[in-house]
């Protein structure tokens, strides 16, 4: 029925099946939209946040999707700036995934503020000392860059491409893409970094506070580094799932192998830096404020030392080893486990840097406070997942995302 919209020479599922799945995820999306409306109309009392948990599930989700979306800027940087041309076979998908992640982050931010209609104050009354100001500026600019990177892809749709203007526009945009990729990498460096700075400039919160270089705490660099390391894991993770769902090989192994290897090196170096950072914080920074290392990991029902072991060893060292060994990369199960662990690791890191920070007491007569999100918070956090799946379904169906698809799946 809609085959005229699809690229030539590729096979897609029947329309009814496509629509059925669309409806299913559309339903989840609508559930989230309902929650958003409730929150906008009735206010943030619809959440389980409180005065201890000024930042909670949403800020974690924001930091999380932005880290996972880091695959877009880093792959773009590797392809256009470093010159790893092989990555052209996966860059489109990385851009789309990045676009989904960043648009979701902006949406979540729009729900998370108490007075959404005043959100523009962050630009108008900008406080140059605030990390959030830097985040807001770079995030918006980078989202614009991602949109620009996404447009030529949309223009490549078979029907749109027939219009000479769009055909030429897409062609010309492709030619200047290196400029945007470089700009994107530059902007990403700053907003990923300032997101890392967000908890670490809080000198009133010894759990997240870090010293650093000039005005930037060490986590500024660690967050950028980890996004560049784990972002590609998410790109590989989603690609693998897409291949499973479509029952097709979509990207050649050499491209996957290259990205996985680079990601492995990045994770390995990041984890070394993270261990040094943790060591210094535990032995110098925190004690200077009167905190022993175990104060951060005891006297509460959830945050034990296991969380640090899980983040650094299980979701850091293990995936790094798998991704750095050719055997690990060539074994599809091991590779999938590694990229999944990588994604969990970066999400866990963002979780502790948001939620453990506020859960922990600072005044001696304060107590740990735990929090369980309300269904409205959960629904609005699941919404981006449904939205992401829908965007991926539509783009995969109608756009030539994977340049190697035809070659890998010749039609009988």
């Amino acid at each position: 029925m809609d085959s005229a919209l699809m690229s030539r020479g590729v096979k897609r599922c029947p329309t009814w099946q496509f629509i059925l799945w669309l409806c299913l995820f559309g339903g989840v999306l609508l559930w989230g939209v309902y929650a958003i409306l409730l929150i906008w109309l009735k206010g943030l009392n619809q959440t389980n946040m409180n005065d201890n948990y000024g930042f909670a599930l949403w800020i974690w989700a924001d930091l999380g999707v932005i880290a996972l979306g880091g695959g877009a800027f880093f792959t773009g940087f590797l392809k256009y700036v470093v010159g790893k041309d092989d990555l052209k076979n996966i860059i489109n998908y990385a851009v789309i995934i990045g676009f989904i992640c960043y648009s979701s982050a902006l949406l979540i931010l729009a729900i998370d503020v108490g007075q959404p209609l005043r959100s523009w104050f962050i630009f108008w009354h900008a406080n140059v000392h605030s990390m959030l100001t830097e985040v807001a500026f770079c995030l918006s600019c980078y989202f614009a860059v991602l949109t620009i990177e996404f447009i030529p892809l949309i223009l490549e749709n078979r029907q749109i491409d027939k219009v000479p203007f769009f055909h030429n526009l897409s062609h010309n945009m492709h030619k200047v893409m290196a400029v945007f990729a470089a700009t994107g990498a530059f902007l990403s460096f700053f907003h990923q970094g300032s997101l890392g700075g967000t908890p670490s400039v809080l000198f009133g919160r010894p759990f997240s506070y870090r010293e650093g270089l000039l005005i930037w705490p060490w986590t500024f660099f660690l967050f950028t580094w980890s996004a560049a390391a784990y972002g590609p894991c998410f790109t590989l993770f989603v690609t693998r799932i897409t291949e499973k769902v479509t029952k097709k090989k979509l990207v050649k192994q050499n491209t996957i192998d290259l990205l996985a290897k680079i990601s492995g090196w990045m994770i390995a170096t990041y984890i070394i830096a993270k261990i040094i950072d943790t060591w210094y914080w535990a032995t110098v920074t925190a004690p200077s404020k009167g905190f022993a290392f175990m104060d951060f990991y005891s006297n509460n029902p959830l945050y034990g030392i296991w969380i640090l072991v899980l983040e650094i060893v299980v979701c850091g060292i293990v995936p790094a080893i798998i991704l750095l060994t050719p055997k690990g990369r060539n074994n599809s199960v091991a590779l999938f486990i590694a990229v999944t662990l990588g994604c969990i690791g970066v999400l866990l890191n963002r979780w502790v840097m948001v939620l453990q920070v506020v859960a922990m007491p600072v005044m001696t007569f304060d107590k740990w406070v735990m929090y369980i999100p309300s269904w409205q918070e959960v629904a609005t956090t699941i919404l981006p997942v449904a939205y992401g799946i829908i965007v991926l379904m539509i783009t995969y169906r109608y756009l030539p995302i994977f340049p190697q698809e035809q070659e890998l799946n010749p039609n009988p």
């Binding site: 206010g43 943030l44 009392n45 946040m49 409180n50 005065d51 201890n52 948990y53 000024g54 930042f55 998370d112 503020v113 108490g114 007075q115 959404p116 005043r118 959100s119 104050f121 962050i122 108008w124 009354h125 900008a126 406080n127 000392h129 605030s130 990390m131 959030l132 100001t133 807001a136 967000t198 908890p199 400039v201 809080l202 000198f203 009133g204 919160r205 010894p206 004690p287 200077s288 404020k289 009167g290 905190f291 022993a292 104060d295 920070v357 506020v358 600072v362 005044m363 001696t364 007569f365 304060d366 406070v369």
Partner: protein, 272 residues
């Protein structure tokens, strides 16, 4: 004829709270709520989402009878100076909706500019900042008793203790009309300080040697305002927040409860 008005040196308003005197009666909390039109809910039992600019904490030394001891600790906003006015909450606000006033040392909150991101709440280690999770609803007739000098806040913004800044403005207006720029100590007092029946709260200009707060707190400006009074301490001084609220206690365990120490550490007062 216009009088010559001399510029005064910058003030640094602060507080000294004598914990040996505080009985935990909560009069300061009540006075603050009514003075500042602080909204309340029908059910205030959940302290995590109810607003109290001034909150009285109960501290215990954790020892069994007969050594058991308790202490009540009133906690307003500390009006932290941080380093050069970079209070923990001020430097993080992306919209400059909270500001450190170098003339008075007071940390302000601009309700109409705050867009409710709550970054400042996360930054404040004293839980002195509160979010308006609901629109304020006053019991019928009570809106007539609201303080006309203080604007009520709307849903979705953060609020906190202002050291009754509107009282400062009123006092300054009066002084200007009278051709003065200097306020007498009793011309500007916070509502909690006046309400305390035990006279546990003293308020004034820490920079002015004539003011009681200066004489009691004896701030050592070379050491970030640390008190030279052996019984005085500030909450979480070691974090570098540089608060302007000093506490007094003759009891070592109370002073030690004011900050975090490793087991081997001595309490700050003993260290210096």
């Amino acid at each position: 004829m216009k009088k010559e008005v001399k510029n005064e040196k910058a003030k640094k308003y602060g507080m000294v709270i004598d914990l040996d005197k505080c009985t935990g009666c909560g009069a300061c909390m009540v006075a603050c709520m009514s003075e500042n039109n602080v909204p309340f809910k029908e059910d205030e039992s959940n302290k995590l989402d109810s607003i109290a600019w001034m909150r009285v904490y109960k501290l215990t030394n954790g020892k069994p009878f007969p050594e058991a001891d308790i202490c009540y600790l009133p906690r307003p906003c500390m009006h932290c100076e941080g380093h050069n006015g970079h209070a923990p909450c001020v430097s993080v606000c992306p919209a400059t909706a909270t500001d450190y006033n170098h003339e008075t040392g007071i940390v302000s909150q601009i309700y109409t500019r705050c867009f409710g991101c709550r970054y400042c709440m996360v930054a404040c280690p004293y839980h002195a900042r509160y979010f308006n999770w609901w629109d304020p609803v006053w019991p019928e007739g009570m809106e007539k008793y609201l303080n006309p000098d203080v604007s009520p806040r709307m849903r979705g913004v953060v609020e906190k203790c202002s050291f009754c800044f509107h009282r400062y403005q009123t006092a300054m207006n009066k002084a200007y009309v009278e051709g003065r720029r200097k306020l007498e100590e009793d011309e500007y007092q916070t509502s909690c300080a006046q309400a305390c029946p035990a006279d546990a709260i003293t308020f004034g200009d820490l920079n002015d040697p004539a003011h009681a707060v200066h004489q009691i707190a004896k701030p050592d400006l070379k050491h970030g305002g640390r008190s030279s009074n052996p019984n005085a301490f500030r909450l979480l001084e070691r974090l570098g927040t540089n608060p302007k609220v000093y506490y007094l206690s003759s009891r070592e365990w109370v002073r030690r409860a004011g900050d975090n120490y490793l087991k081997k550490d001595k309490t700050v007062k003993k260290l210096h």
